[in-house]
Amino acid sequence: MIEKALSGSKRYWIWVTLLLGMIAIGFYAYMNQFNNGLGVTGMSRDVSWGLYIAQFTFLVGVAASAVMLVLPYYLHDFKKFGKMVILGEFLAIPAVIMCMLFIVVDLGQPMRIMNVILHPSPRSVMFYDMIVLCGYLLINLVVGWTTLGAERKGFPSPKWVKPIIYLSIPWAVSIHTVTAFLYAGLPGRHLWLSAIMAARFLASAFAAGPAILLLLCFIVRKVSKFNPDPEGGAIQSLVKIVRYAMIANIFFYILEIFTAFYSGIPEYSAALRYTLFGLNGYNSLVPIMWTAVVLAFLGVAILIFPSTRMNGATLTIGLLSIIIANWIDKGMVLIVAGFVPNSFERVVEYAPTLNEVLVTLGVYSIGLLLITILYKVAISVREEKAS
């Protein structure tokens, strides 16, 4: 089936070339980091994780969000998602691969990464994160490829793939739960030391992930003859999922705010104060965080009112608002502010360097290229069937 990605319109090849160019720039920037060490990034002794790990965290959520299609379709027989499920699975695969790449580019000694397997450490959450991420990648590769292959030949999917599909549902929840445990189990990092962290992660994932998927569906409808929502109603159902997940996400965030501020324990609210109001005169994240707050409420509002929710243009704005709000919250602020103030109650700020941004864009370009290839295959198979 992969040969379908090798033929395409001029527009397709221009897009692929553009992505390859971005990847080349990112690779060059990574070579600079590889040769000169992580000193070329904005990370420091105090803020020892930055943009890379934050992207990893955000993308685990995107990967997990495929379950929001798989679960209604396979468990509740919600037929309307039938044409969309494959797009969810084919979004999960590049998302997991991007997660892994962000871990690799964050390592000080990437050549030693196999030490994680050579010296397995079951007491480390990272060990389990490796297992669930690799497993999730494998599950989605097998399920996506097999179901699409069967569809192409006009057969129903083989029976053996069903149990794997069912397994993918709890597995998707597990990848984001374990990722939350990376942070939520650390003593002395008060922003992260919260029982609701995993729930918050899942809520934000099920908002941002399907929102990204919806935007991809709109693009697919524009650039191809394949309609992911032929009967109508699938898109609006997914919009409702995004809306409720985002409301839950905001609710969980308010719970954090209440506990931290009403209890009055200074350490518990210090990082939140830093992100929302600034601390000791440092406030570089404040405007960014308030942008996220405004966009979160704007997005929910757009997705609530039928007139804005049904309108393609406003719906796109609403979904973009939700994606950006979640990206700011999870793909930047949560990880960075976890280190602020440091364990000496001093504020050390972090800002990514150009090199770091280029590497990040390079990894995202690899992900976009993979999405393009996989979606091209899926769309070509569907177009072939339709004609």
Binding site: L38, M43, R45, S48, G108, H119, S121, Y183, P187, E345
Partner: protein, 266 residues
């Protein structure tokens, strides 16, 4: 006997699996032997202990220069590079004031001098080290004598231990450290870029029957010994005087104790 393609592939698969499987079994056995052979040989003058601990008696440090001497001796011995900026900074033992060292216990009526008086801080070699739990490769581990040590050759530089440590005791080699060492000390290895490091309670000196270099340079301000031995000086101080530890509420059981008010002890 003729076999078709499918049978050939199946048999080839089984044989490969068997071969790979048994090689794992063999290497599993060998690993144990290698580990034993490479294990810590007891050095002739090794100072044995069940639980190394340190007491910091700040009253013995008369001036900041007394503290700087300690810091410099440690960093010189362990080839700790000086990058000259706080972003890439590597430190094993350093100074911070009372207010920040014992963060969380802010008291606005506290005497200004106490508030800003410098304290020596280093790795606490916790009984329940969160860094050891976090490490995905066991590159950081707790020795039987309580020292939390690092294997610089195994560390993958993921910095999970730095996120886990509630005391900011760990530093990462963001840049090549070897180009920023004034004079390389032959007593301790230099590091590659991309690995984490921290205080090791001078286990290389303990193996030679020597006290940690900071203790040696401290004029009695740092007292080091076996907490498990009821007759050790550290144990006597901790059981008879008022000592405090950093962030005891986290349950990591730090093994660096701060003697408050000083006073006489033998």
């Amino acid at each position: 006997m003729s076999i078709n393609r499918r049978q050939f592939l199946r048999r080839a698969g089984v044989i490969t699996a068997l071969g790979l499987g048994s090689s794992f079994v063999i290497s599993g056995f060998r690993k144990k032997e290698v580990a034993e052979a490479a294990g810590f040989a007891k050095a002739p003058k090794d100072m044995p202990a069940k639980r190394w601990a340190m007491v910091v008696d700040m009253s013995k440090f008369k001036t900041e220069a007394d503290m700087n001497k300690v810091v410099e001796a440690c960093h010189k011995l362990h080839n700790v590079p000086d990058f000259g900026n706080p972003k890439d900074e590597i430190k094993w033992i350093w100074k911070d004031d009372y207010h920040h060292t014992f963060a969380g216990g802010f008291n606005e009526y506290l005497d200004e001098n106490v508030m800003h008086s410098p304290f020596l801080v280093t790795c606490n070699h916790c009984d329940n080290p969160p860094c050891v739990k976090a490490c995905p490769t066991q590159a950081t581990f707790k020795r039987p004598d309580g020292i939390v040590a690092m294997d610089f050759h195994r560390c993958i530089g993921c910095r999970f231990c730095m996120a886990a440590c509630p005391f900011s005791a760990r530093s990462f080699n963001f840049k090549d450290p070897r180009t920023h060492i004034d004079e390389i000390s032959p007593e301790y290895p230099t590091r590659t870029p991309g690995v984490v490091e921290k205080c090791n309670f001078c286990y290389e000196r303990l193996a030679d029957g020597l006290q940690p270099v900071c203790v040696e340079q401290s004029n009695g301000g740092l007292i080091f010994g076996d907490l498990d031995d009821p007759n050790s000086e550290v144990r006597k101080i901790i059981s008879t005087k008022l000592t405090i530890r950093r962030k005891p509420e986290l349950g990591t059981q730090p093994c660096v104790y701060y003697l408050v008010g000083g006073g006489e002890h033998d």
